[in-house]
Symmetry: C2
Subunit: 193 residues, 2 copies
């Protein structure tokens, strides 16, 4: 379990045994059951998440129905907006599967950063990297049709299509569940013809 994390970190910076021990001793590894709620609309929280195993999603409830906007899987990090702007959360976060997370908070991070400045470098690099990736995702979303977005997802994150219910995928693709059904039927029809 810890090795998963350290292998990942080693791609960016090298850690001494001291530093590894410091992380482990923070005791931040947490397990959650499928469906568990991590954050609800209106709540304030300081918790940031890093997915070691499993899958979590963010969703809004708009006009009574769920709009899933993001999925975070292995080695992806999420700092909810409410942690940054210190306001009640606009959205929900819950577990799509049984999930193991690192749960951190700003105080803990500040302490780690002052003890081991290297960690702040790591966080900066990860944030910049994820930001650039996120921008590309957004660009692709804007410049393609729902059908293209689905086909793109099929290429880039085929696991998601297996792991996640259709109606959650639909809003992730910016459409209604019925439209996703139809669109998939359309694609199958094309492949046949």
């Amino acid at each position: 379990m810890h090795d998963l994390l350290f292998d990942f970190i080693s791609k960016y910076i090298s850690l001494t045994d001291d530093e590894k021990n410091a992380i482990v001793s923070l005791d931040v590894f947490r397990s959650f059951k499928k469906g568990a709620a991590l954050l609800k609309e209106g709540q304030k929280s300081n918790d940031g998440y890093f997915v070691l195993k499993g899958c979590i999603r963010t969703y809004y409830i708009i006009g009574g129905d769920e709009k899933t906007t993001a999925f975070y899987t292995e080695m992806e990090a999420l700092t909810p907006h409410c942690v940054i702007n210190k306001a009640p959360s606009e959205y929900y976060i819950s577990c799509v599967e049984d999930t193991i997370l690192i749960v951190s908070n700003p105080d803990m991070e500040a302490e780690m950063f002052s003890k081991f400045p290297k960690f702040e470098s790591l966080c900066r690099i990860l944030a910049e990297e994820f930001l650039a990736k996120q921008q590309i995702n957004f660009d692709e979303f804007k410049t393609s049709s729902p059908e293209q977005r689905y086909l793109n997802l099929l290429q880039k994150r085929p696991d998601l299509i297996q792991r996640v219910p259709q109606h959650q995928l639909a809003s992730y693709l910016g459409i209604k569940p019925q439209s996703l059904s139809r669109l998939r039927a359309r694609i199958l029809e094309k492949d046949k013809g």
Copy 2:
């Protein structure tokens, strides 16, 4: 000009005169004319940008036409994807108006970070903040119709609608210029009725 920058930074961290001088002596302030190209598809570059005054945009050329995906205005930073992944750029960057930028690169940043670790904190905080903001933008985009997105933009960045040509706004909203024209006519019609 420098005050613009220092006032902005002072919201996050406090700088000594030494540190301010270090920034100024880097000599990173650059002026560009409207329409100037900062980066082209296929080019490699290490330059990151911070907008002091003016407006720049990123765009792709897909099937022969421009797809504008982002605008950066005063006090917004852009580290192009090609700087992060060290590959040729997928997109273009150019100036929408006469613009004054800070142009930085990883070597320069590394030097500043080691001399003044505070700058790395600043960059981490800005990246995390921008990432959370970006996520909210993306969420809003996914969960709304083109018309809602236009109305939303009218609320949140009314300046853009003045500063930027319609056809660039259209792709920024994820639609064709004709659809934006029609959509605006539809809104005007509603307001009248």
